[in-house]
Subunit: 369 residues, 2 copies
């Protein structure tokens, strides 16, 4: 095999497929990037058996062939090459020579025989949305998936298509994040659970441009994202997602409107008094026009008032500060509405159109403290 | 005590004195910053018993007093306060209230009684140099001190005053870094060893401006740096520094002139093939007009030519790539001169005026490999 690419294109391709190279695996061949120049395009592939990525790299093929090269080493070498044309050439023992200007590397490659190619998915119907939109809904919900494998479903996100709407939800037992976006047309209703890892990696690869599209193909066991010159194939998580609609109550006893930035800074300051692992709640007391936030810990105490607009009853309620912060930080609005029922029931941060809904469970606290 | 400062001034003061707060100590009082407003200025002090820092913080004293507050917590709190006027007030039990806008923290302070104040040093004669100069000579030599405590002297740097010249040197057994700068006048000859930690912290505090001065006071056991509103006092390392002049040979058999940036990139690429802890040398082969750099490791091999100007004999010599890189990166010139004697003798990277000299010991290598 002999191919010639620019360093930039090469690096771009390597960066994309590196996202699906497993860090630990018993199949060492999967620690490689497969360079396939056996047809008329140069294709890089990586696969961790749950998530697979394929991308086309611009360049010329002087001699057709296939080689698998250790992903980490290959990516380090490419990154440090001069910014110029790169020649990648293999001999019959898969010794791979990478030449750029006067620099010449010899790396030990492998035949691609044992490599697990991506499953071939029938590509018929697809859902189309902008890269920007997909990236946004992922980054603004992904923080509330669970990293605990005991409930596999919680490690993924619900992607639900209801006519011309895409609803994305994640939950970890303490909170729920929901985002809704409008699609370009009415699609067949569908409900899948996509692994959090897949979504995390995709959000890193997506350029996030509003005028570039992603095509999403859904099958019984897989989801495929097609964009730019890249194809991402991921297994789905099996099972039925939680009935989140039942967890969201439309009624409330207290509604406040608060400046998001002020509230975030205030919560952020309060976390100084929590040692890691220490589950001290912040206590939020709402009365007419004022939200008071206080915390008491072995390290000291803090107390701060924020001006708010309030409807309904007064309330005092405890929260894990991190959960409130994560939700607030994912919101783009300057003023946010928060709805409370009682000190034992979750609060909701949502806008009128409900394009976003964040539910946070309260924490018990001793009122006397 | 009650003082009023701007958040900016407070943060600046905290950042400066935090550099001398020990991370581990049996004397918990030393984990505090001492706020001394018992006179007509607000003074912050920290002391790890080897290095002590004192800085004056701008502000108003409404009520005189002293308090010691946990440095980490105090610095976190100050950092996260709104950007406004801050009031720090203590009661008779040293409970310290920090108020800024509507935020109010209560922290548990201590009396300053047990705090170790800085040793009082007689300030007579001083050496004057610019902050820029001091910062430069530290950062461009500090990387070759030893972090191994078995030879205490190697963990510090030689500061030698010879008439109107300041010479700074560090060595770790594999390499030597020497910088010389001209002082404003002739001073009494002096030779001291300053702990590396002190120099590291000072280089971080110095603003590095060319028109701001540092006064350096030297006593038998201490060195004091006075600049801006800050005083840094450090113990000296006892003992006689190595006779580095004897290690530097003026003669050479090969001299090359090489583009520094090209050489650094080339060495940098070669390090990709060394695993950490792996002591593979790079082999530099010098012939007319060309420097060839190569490395062979279990991961593969690399080979690259760089154009050079050469005087004297051809030579092949092995190096630890990190040591060459550190020296080259500390040099400001675009073209550097490197002097070689033979494959067993150190090479020297220096300029004609010898304002910098970097000596690097070679590494044995098997020529056949």
């Amino acid at each position: 095999m002999k191919i010639i690419c620019s360093k930039t294109d090469l690096l771009n391709g390597v960066n994309i497929v590196s996202k699906a190279v497993p860090s630990k695996t018993t199949m060492t061949i999967l620690e490689c990037i497969l360079i396939d120049a056996s047809t008329d395009v140069i294709k890089f592939t990586s696969n961790d058996m749950e998530l697979g990525i394929e991308t086309i790299v611009k360049g010329n093929i002087a001699e057709k062939g296939i080689v698998a090269i250790d992903a980490k080493l290959f990516s380090d070498v490419v990154r440090k090459l001069p910014d110029n044309e790169v020649i990648i050439e293999t001999d019959d023992k898969y010794i791979t020579t990478i030449t750029c200007e006067k620099a010449k590397f010899n790396l030990i490659g492998k035949s691609g025989e044992d490599f697990s190619y991506l499953p071939s998915i029938e590509k018929n119907e697809y859902i189309s949305l902008s890269q920007f939109m997909l990236k946004e809904i992922i980054t603004k919900t992904i923080f509330s998936i669970s990293d605990n494998d005991t409930n596999k479903i919680m490690t993924g996100e619900l992607f639900e298509i209801i006519e011309n709407q895409l609803k994305v939800a994640s939950l970890d037992g303490h909170r729920i994040s929901i985002r809704k976006v409008e699609l370009d047309k009415v699609y067949e209703n569908k409900k899948i659970i996509i692994p959090g890892k897949t979504l995390n990696e995709i959000s890193k690869i997506l350029s996030g441009e509003a005028d570039k599209l992603v095509k999403m193909y859904i099958t019984d066991n897989h989801v495929v994202f097609d964009f730019d010159n890249t194809t991402v194939v991921s297994r789905l998580i099996e099972g039925e997602y939680f009935s989140i609609n039942q967890m969201i109550s439309p009624s409330y006893d207290t509604k406040i409107t608060i400046n998001k930035k002020e509230f975030i800074s205030c919560i952020d300051r309060s976390t100084l008094l929590c040692k890691e692992g220490d589950k001290k709640p912040i206590i939020v007391t709402i009365s007419d026009g004022i939200l008071n936030l206080k915390i008491n810990s072995v390290m000291g105490s803090m107390n701060e008032d924020i001006d708010i607009a309030k409807e309904g009853k007064d309330i005092a309620i405890g929260f894990n500060p991190k959960f409130l912060m994560d939700a607030l930080r994912a919101i783009e609005d300057e003023q946010v509405d928060i709805y409370f029922v009682n000190p034992k029931a979750p609060c909701f941060i949502k806008n009128d159109k409900e394009t976003y809904t964040y539910l946070v469970l309260p924490v018990n606290f001793n009122v006397v403290s």
